[in-house]
């Protein structure tokens, strides 16, 4: 009975007893969820346009962050480093399209997946080779990002602390999603991207260059990766440990469906908030640290009821 009580009642009593702490937990989860959603966004962009499950998105985040910080360490001013990093991501996108994707057209999913893991190995080696393997401090203030925090009074004695960088992260994420939505829906290239996502062959037949589109999509994913790298780097620091964290984007994708941008956002928030609440209120029962797998379990349970994810396109199978 005690155990049941601990599982079913105690956490909720804790939540009610300290509402300010509960809101703080939700806020932390919300911010983590936004970062997951940003990583997942990179996956979705590429999956939609080329059907490639881009495992390298995590390392692209690290690589972009490392390039930015590394350039700044070498004496390049922050704004120039940012522009150069964007250039590097563009170059990377062109190289990936030219030397990998173009050669692997029409291969089965698993081969494409493996090629992105191969890219991961390559980028890990390259990043460590050029910039060194030790964690680096993100150049937050040099980039003009806010630091410090605001404490908001809540109720009679509660206090909720908002880190400014977290608020900035949320705002930037929203702006970026909005920009992507406009880009996809209002521009010529965006329409071409959607055409390619719908049907490669039909897009080819009306004169859309697949190669060009893929390079653009990888570049867009690179920009998303850079933003994620800056935000995440500002919260902790830029290190290769991020690569494992980036795997969290997978349950997010599962929840949202591989092809849906709103799905990535909603999935990210569900996973971020769910795992923080689980970790804080239920984690101590089993010894803590359940954050590492809780997200996957949440996704697994969701999948059992909706195999295509929350927003994914319905899977129709034919013989």
């Amino acid at each position: 009975m005690d155990f049941l009580h601990d599982i079913l009642l105690r956490p909720f009593m804790d939540m009610a007893a300290q509402p300010d702490f509960f809101i703080q937990v939700i806020w932390e989860g919300f911010v983590a969820g936004i970062l997951y959603a940003l990583i997942a966004l990179g996956f979705v962009l590429i999956y939609k346009a080329s059907g490639v499950f881009n495992f390298a998105q995590g390392i692209m985040v690290v690589f972009a962050g490392l390039t930015l910080v590394g350039l700044h360490e070498k004496g390049v001013p922050a704004w120039l480093a940012l522009i150069l990093t964007i250039g590097v991501m563009a170059l990377l996108a062109v190289c990936i399209e030219r030397f990998v994707m173009r050669k692997l057209v029409a291969q089965p999913d698993i081969i494409l997946l493996m090629s992105t893991i191969g890219m991961t190995y390559f980028l890990v080696g390259l990043g460590e080779f050029v910039f060194g393997g030790e964690p680096k401090q993100m150049i937050t203030s040099e980039l003009g990002l806010p630091t410090g925090s605001t404490a908001v009074e809540f109720g009679e004695r509660g206090l909720i602390i908002f880190q400014h960088i977290d608020i900035a992260a949320a705002v930037i994420a929203i702006v970026m999603v909005a920009a992507l939505a406009v880009f996809f829906n209002r521009t010529r290239i965006g329409r071409a991207l959607r055409a390619v996502a719908d049907d490669h062959q039909a897009a080819l037949s009306v004169g859309i260059s697949l190669n060009q589109i893929w390079a653009i999509v990888w570049f867009a994913a690179g920009i998303v990766a850079l933003t994620t790298g800056i935000m995440w780097g500002a919260r902790s620091d830029v290190s290769f440990a991020l690569e494992i964290v980036a795997l969290k984007a997978l349950p997010v994708l599962i929840l949202g469906g591989f092809t849906s941008i709103p799905g990535a956002i909603v999935g990210g928030l569900i996973i971020g908030i769910g795992e923080k609440i689980g970790e804080i209120y239920w984690g101590p029962l089993v010894g803590g640290g359940i954050e590492s797998w809780l997200a996957y379990m949440i996704a697994l349970i969701f999948l059992l009821f909706r195999p295509q994810g929350l927003f994914g396109e319905r899977i129709i199978e034919r013989i």
Partner: protein, 359 residues
């Protein structure tokens, strides 16, 4: 000229259905077995046996395990490392609970623990397919990793949190622990791998294996033709996890000697997946090729780079190795997406019609 089945007539079904129907193949296999059983232990030094041959065989077995699931039954898995860990920890528990039983028995039994968990985590595969399923196997991977850290019972409440292999002997020969000779360990691993490979080969040739392949090629059609997906998929998960579990147990007991939870991280899963894919999905001989390629290539690079006049610090070598391996994997996928096993097959075809370009 030499490799040709002309004149080899089959007069019975048994002869027609044997694993190696061509005489030259049988001779080749016998030669390989002879080399593995006699020449390698005789000619190889301690370093070769313990750092190359033993892990190669163990990882080849894990690759076969993954190949059963991904290559034959078509269920993509990223949790191989976790299941190997389950085998290793199960074996460790068995060894400490029943110290008198022979170690090989422990190793073979520990696979069943992995198989049972494999069935549990295989259940979602009845509803989930493809890349979505891969993520659910990642759930298994991270859950197991967490268990290895947070459940002290698994490592007998060690202060270090790692499992250390106790010295055990069989028939008067020390097989595990620091004092075991590399030759003895090599023989145990080799025999286990040979026996299990033969068993898997026959499983695949038989009814169960054909069902796996039907499920892989098109599960709905297979279901309509009377294959029960529940049985086929779960048996694939069970067999695959069993092999991975045994491989994991051997990985710790005959190769590493002691293991921390990080030994069975998701990196190991990817490594084994690479072995399966580069070797060739759905091919047993490919599993050995893939394991050899992925395991031995970095070792060669680490050795070779200083030899060609690049005296580099060791971390630079590691970084360059990572880059070269990554690039080679991509190159390989582009040149031969069906893996080394396909190259092997093409080579055999060419040999058959040699000296003519076609027959």
């Amino acid at each position: 000229m030499f490799y040709r089945e002309v004149g080899q007539f089959k007069t019975s079904y048994a002869a027609d259905q044997q694993v190696f129907p061509i005489r030259q193949d049988r001779i080749g296999v016998a030669v390989i077995l002879l080399v593995a059983l006699v020449v390698v232990p005789w000619a190889g030094n301690d370093f070769f046996l313990s750092a190359i041959a033993i892990p190669f065989l163990v990882l080849a077995l894990a690759t076969i395990g993954l190949n059963v699931l991904t290559g034959y039954a078509g269920q993509l898995s990223l949790g191989t490392g976790g299941f190997m860990g389950v085998g290793a920890y199960a074996c460790y528990k068995l060894v400490t609970l029943f110290p008198d039983a022979p170690i090989v028995l422990h190793v073979l039994l520990s696979g069943f623990a992995a198989a049972a968990l494999g069935i549990v985590f295989g259940l979602p595969s009845l509803r989930i397919k493809g890349l979505y399923l891969a993520v659910t196997t990642l759930a298994a991977q991270f859950f197991f990793e967490w268990c290895f850290i947070r459940v002290p019972w698994l490592y007998n409440y060690n202060a270090s949190g790692a499992i250390e292999v106790p010295g055990r002997s069989m028939f008067g020969v020390t097989l595990t622990g620091p004092s075991a000779s590399s030759t003895a360990r090599y023989y145990v691993v080799l025999l286990v791998v040979i026996v299990l490979t033969v068993l898997v080969k026959n499983l695949i040739r038989g009814r169960i294996g054909r069902q796996w392949m039907m499920i892989r090629d098109m599960d709905i059609a297979a279901e309509l033709m009377g294959v029960r997906p529940l049985h086929a998929k779960l048996s694939a998960f069970a067999v695959s996890s069993y092999l991975c579990g045994v491989a994991g147990a051997m990985f710790v007991f005959f190769y590493l000697g002691a293991a921390e939870p990080s030994a069975f991280s998701v990196t190991l899963s990817f490594q084994v997946l690479f072995m399966a894919i580069l070797g060739g999905l759905g091919s047993l001989v490919g599993s050995f090729f893939g394991a050899a390629f992925i395991w031995i290539l970095p070792i060669l690079l680490r050795w070779g780079m200083p030899l060609v006049g690049m005296p580099l610090p060791s971390e630079t070598v590691t970084q360059l190795t990572s880059m070269i391996v990554g690039a080679l994997i991509i190159v390989f996928l582009i040149l031969e997406p069906h893996g080394l096993a396909r190259l092997w097959q093409i080579g055999k075809e060419k040999l058959r019609v040699w000296p003519f370009p076609y027959a």
